[in-house]
């Protein structure tokens, strides 16, 4: 019997069955893989935080190598001595503070409400590191990262990532030659807190001057660079009142 595929009733029936089958497949897939995907996101955040702190497997001058996912959970537990959430001016310890959706919290703060700000305290070889997250806007989409400072508020490491900056231009904020420039700059000077700025033409492309609070911009990525500056400025503005407070906790 040949199927009459032109009949309206057949078309409707076909669509109903197709949608149900496809819906079932996708729902099954989504539930089945959800745990695994969340775990990957956890590992990624832990890797990023540790990277900012200077814990990584970098072997050469140019590539970014994280702690492998098989070890990261354990290393994170060993090195990160405190995970705090800052809310209403108080820092309270909270487990898995890195799973906080910073974008949502920043939106809350922008609308005048109290948002939760995660802060991590790491310890390695007797040195203490304060690591805070950053979130902002590049040219096309979101950019984010972590910054780690020591007790004298000198940057010990940063990590940047982006959702959709131009490959080869703005997306280079996650390259070593850009991120490494931040190390050694200080976020505090005689005149108060100084957010590090990404600037063009500061006559210091190799960034040997560590006291100018300036980092050489990426050619062809002006707006992404400005985004990075704005993101750092915003984060330091938010965390500034608490740096002192958190330091006294230890």
């Amino acid at each position: 019997m040949a199927l009459n595929t032109d009949k309206n009733s057949y078309t409707v029936l076909f669509s109903v069955i197709m949608v149900s089958v496809v819906g079932a497949i996708l729902a099954y897939l989504a539930t089945g893989l959800k745990d695994k995907i969340t775990e990957n996101q956890r590992f990624e955040k832990q890797q990023n935080i540790l990277y900012a702190m200077g814990v990584h497997n970098n072997t050469d001058e140019s590539s970014v190598n994280f702690i492998p996912t098989t070890e990261v959970d354990q290393r994170f537990g060993e090195l990160i001595k405190g995970q705090y959430v800052i809310q209403d001016g108080e820092a309270t310890p909270q487990e898995d503070a890195f799973m906080i959706d910073l974008k949502k919290e920043l939106d809350l703060i922008k609308s005048g409400k109290d948002g939760k700000l995660p802060l991590f305290i790491g310890e390695q070889e007797g040195k203490t590191y304060y690591i805070f997250p950053m979130y902002g806007k590049g040219l096309w989409d979101a950019i984010w990262g972590y910054m780690s400072v020591d007790e004298s508020l000198t940057i010990t490491g940063v990590y940047f990532d982006n959702k959709g900056e131009t490959p080869g231009l703005g997306a280079n904020i996650k390259m070593r030659f850009f991120m490494d420039d931040f190390i050694g700059e200080s976020i505090v000077s005689d005149t108060g807190y100084t957010p590090i700025e990404v600037v063009k033409g500061n006559n210091d492309p190799l960034n040997s001057d560590k006291s100018d609070a300036e980092v050489d911009a990426l050619a062809g990525a002006t707006i992404t660079g400005n985004g990075v500056s704005a993101m750092i400025k915003e984060s330091i503005r938010l965390y500034e009142p608490y740096f002192e407070k958190v330091r006294s906790l230890n």
Binding site: T5, T11, F14, G168
Partner: protein, 215 residues
């Protein structure tokens, strides 16, 4: 008996050269322009298209006798979208690093005209095995062009290949840069891809005049 008959191997080899989806059929140009700015992304994109087109062609071919002709385009879209989500979710779970590079291009795969074009032109009228070969062939033809375009864009635009500097250091002025060579920033932006694709089309037709369309 060889693995593939002569007709079957033609299905794979033709799209690589004389029936290339990008340079001859001029399909899938948009994604070819957008994602050829980085060699790694191009390779990931080519592999994803290979999977989606190979699988999709088989699925459509199996269903070709029961798909209502009135809504066949919608059915094709649903098949592509489902496959793309399956790829995306699986990568997120098992190859997280790769999925971060790919996720931006998921939408581009769904709208890639090569996929809809092959479903419509081939899978609806042929058996699953031949459709599979056709899908693989076209995806490879697409991938080859992507990688060629990217090769020139990355080399001339950034002086690197796969992110590794090959022409020296532009800041420290070593290698070629010591002789006054400069990277061409224009090669990084999408219009440069259009020019590279255009040159490829020109070279291919100059070598094989039978490909030239009647004006």
């Amino acid at each position: 008996m060889p693995l593939l008959s002569k007709k079957e191997s033609k299905l794979i080899l033709d799209p690589l050269a004389d029936n290339n989806p990008i340079t001859i059929q001029v399909l899938g140009i948009c994604s070819a322009l957008a994602i050829t700015a980085e060699l790694k992304a191009s390779v990931v994109m080519a592999v994803s298209v290979l999977f989606v087109l190979g699988m999709g062609n088989v699925v459509i071919s199996l269903m070709r006798n029961i798909i209502p002709s009135k809504i066949r385009i919608i059915v094709q879209l649903v098949v592509v979208a489902t496959l793309v989500i399956v790829v995306d979710q699986t990568l997120k779970a098992f190859a997280y690093e790769l999925s971060k590079t790919l996720s931006v291009f998921v939408g581009l795969i769904i709208t890639n005209c090569i996929i809809m074009g092959r479903f419509e032109a081939f899978a609806l009228g042929n058996g699953p095995w031949r459709s599979f070969l056709d899908g693989i062939g076209n995806a490879l033809g697409y991938g080859v062009i992507l990688i060629i375009v990217r090769f020139f864009r990355e080399l001339l635009g950034s002086g690197t290949l796969f992110g590794i500097p090959v022409l020296g250091d532009p800041i420290a002025k070593t290698g070629l840069y010591a002789f006054g060579y400069e990277n061409n920033g224009f090669m990084i932006i999408p219009p440069a891809a259009l020019i590279v694709v255009g040159i490829l089309i020109w070279i291919q037709r100059a070598k094989n005049p039978s490909l030239v369309e009647e004006a």
